[in-house]
């Protein structure tokens, strides 16, 4: 059974022929569109390494059936920088040592971008930690991650205010 779907991935429209309905969004990105920045950790929705934004919301791409997302707008780690200019969340992870081995980092960064967009955590580190609890880091870089998220949130808010002024 062939399924034809269309997705916007990092701003580019992609038409995909699915020869198998079992393909998850994660496998579609990695195996068919060669976007390997999104990582496969547990593949069961427990680690968050596969986090991407779908229509602006962070989700686990390992538990999303690609066929069901026909027409969706997907943002992955490959699409967040502007050319050579890092996204403020990427820059903050580097500045605060929010990583060690780096495997969970694309998922952490996409989750952080989603969290900041949701606007629920504010500047409360406890709310940031709770809001990031779907992303495991086995190197234990959590304190740097929390600082990075808080810092990036401030710089994004400043930039927004700067634009509005």
């Amino acid at each position: 059974m062939n399924l034809s779907i269309s997705l916007t991935v990092n701003g580019v429209r992609r038409n995909v022929e699915l020869d198998d309905p079992r393909v998850t969004l994660l496998d579609l990105l990695r195996e068919r569109l060669d976007l390997t920045g999104t990582k496969k950790g547990c593949d069961r929705g427990q680690c968050g390494a596969c986090t991407v934004l779908v229509d602006g919301r962070r989700i686990n791409s390992c538990l999303a059936l690609a066929a069901s997302l026909d027409g969706a707008d997907i943002l992955t780690i490959e699409g967040v920088a502007r050319g050579s200019e890092l996204h403020p969340v990427q820059a903050a992870f580097i500045a605060h040592d929010g990583l060690q081995c780096g495997f969970c980092t694309p998922g952490q960064i996409m989750s952080a971008i989603g969290l900041i967009e949701e606007g629920q955590a504010g500047d409360d580190p406890e709310r940031v930690r709770e809001g990031m609890s779907g992303n495991l880091c086995r190197c234990g870089a959590y304190s740097g991650i929390t600082e990075a998220v808080l810092d990036a949130q401030r710089s994004l808010a400043d930039a927004k205010q700067g634009r509005a002024a």
């Binding site: 079992r22 986090t51 989603g114």
Partner: protein, 352 residues
């Protein structure tokens, strides 16, 4: 994962017809179903994708003061709907204490109700499980069972229902709207899930093709908003299922409890309404002694199904704590650690 046919109907009638066929199941976000399919626990022949069905993603206020929640409303959207959270704070808190932000962004209201047990033996296809494969036995009985049921279990099955959301819902008399082959009908949420008995594979009262289209809260459910909490003991601070949880809602007038609503999670194969405890709390002044009496009544029928005697005492303590917090008053905003008995805020009431 076993291969399957994928269909995406455009109308509810087409969805019901497609899902009434043997081997067919509904797919919404898939956060539980895909996980089960990857493990070979669920092996459907057909997925009926309901995500594009029209009109199922709305939160509507009703004339009687109640609310109707479409089955496709996402958990995060419901929890963060300001009007909803103000009227039903314990439900918002329960939702935010469940899963992770990513999963709450995807998971739907209908899917939450129909999520399967998290019993490890149900998930392990090499283990005997009457719920997954009727007649094979129950390896949980002699296995790792400290998290299993203490109420309503049978020799066939000691699994629990994992939902947080369902616990305050059942306390507040939520009703489920179902579209089936014979048309529309309604079932009280309390009657949706079955206790295992000799047929644990029959988890709900739903028939083939039945589709949950909405959830309704009656007009009087918002009367508990000023004194409503959900409390959940987990084995880690966040992103874990309940060991035991409790929802408590009090209607307090002139310092007296006029009416109480109580339910427990993590103790049975369904969200467990504690009516005997509610009776004890009707028309009485709030206090530790009466809370303890109510908690004892709630667990009066409980018995361990294995290495889980501790859950009977734990559930009573969590009920007392939930009642104490509810009597103190609903916080302005859901706490940073929703439903947690722990808090890193120094001096906070809910410090353990």
């Amino acid at each position: 994962m076993k291969n399957f046919d994928y269909v995406r109907p455009a109308t509810i009638a087409d969805a019901v017809a497609a899902a009434a066929e043997p081997g067919a199941v509904y797919l919404a976000a898939g956060t539980n179903l895909l996980d089960l399919m990857k493990g070979g626990v669920s092996r459907p022949a057909r997925l009926v994708d309901v995500t594009r069905l029209p009109g199922l993603d709305r939160i509507e206020r009703l004339h009687d003061g109640g609310v109707r929640i479409g089955a496709l409303v996402r958990n995060a959207d419901l929890a963060h709907d300001a009007g909803f959270a103000r009227s039903y704070p314990a439900i918002a808190e329960a939702l935010l204490s469940g899963a992770s932000a990513q999963l709450r962004n995807a998971a739907t209201v209908g899917g939450n109700l129909l999520q399967r047990t998290r019993c490890g033996y149900f998930y392990d296809t090499a283990s005997a499980c009457n719920r997954r494969e009727p007649g094979t036995g129950c390896d949980a009985r002699g296995g790792e069972n400290r998290l299993h049921a203490v109420l309503g279990w049978s020799e066939s099955c000691i699994a629990t229902h994992p939902s947080d959301f369902c616990v305050p819902l059942v306390a507040l008399d939520a009703v489920v709207e179902i579209e089936g082959r014979a048309g529309r009908r309604e079932v009280a949420l309390e009657a949706l899930h079955r206790l295992p008995g000799d047929t644990p594979q029959q988890e709900t009262v739903l028939e083939p093709g039945d589709l949950i289209v909405a959830l309704r809260l009656p007009g009087d459910a918002a009367a508990f908003a000023a004194h409503a909490r959900y409390l959940k003991v987990r084995e880690r601070t966040s992103f874990a299922f309940a060991v035991v949880s409790a929802a408590a809602g009090l209607r307090i007038e002139q310092g007296r409890i006029r009416e109480a609503r109580l339910a427990l999670g993590g103790v049975a194969a369904k969200p467990w309404r504690a009516r005997a405890a509610e009776k004890i709390l009707a028309d009485i002044s709030p206090g530790q002694d009466v809370f303890r009496r109510a908690a004892a009544a709630a667990l009066a029928e409980a018995r361990p199904s294995g290495d889980n005697q501790f859950k009977i005492e734990l559930a009573q303590r969590i009920l007392v704590r939930a009642l104490t917090l509810a009597a103190t008053g609903t916080p302005e905003r859901v706490p940073a650690l929703p439903a947690s008995p722990f808090s890193s805020v120094a001096g906070a009431l809910i410090d353990a």
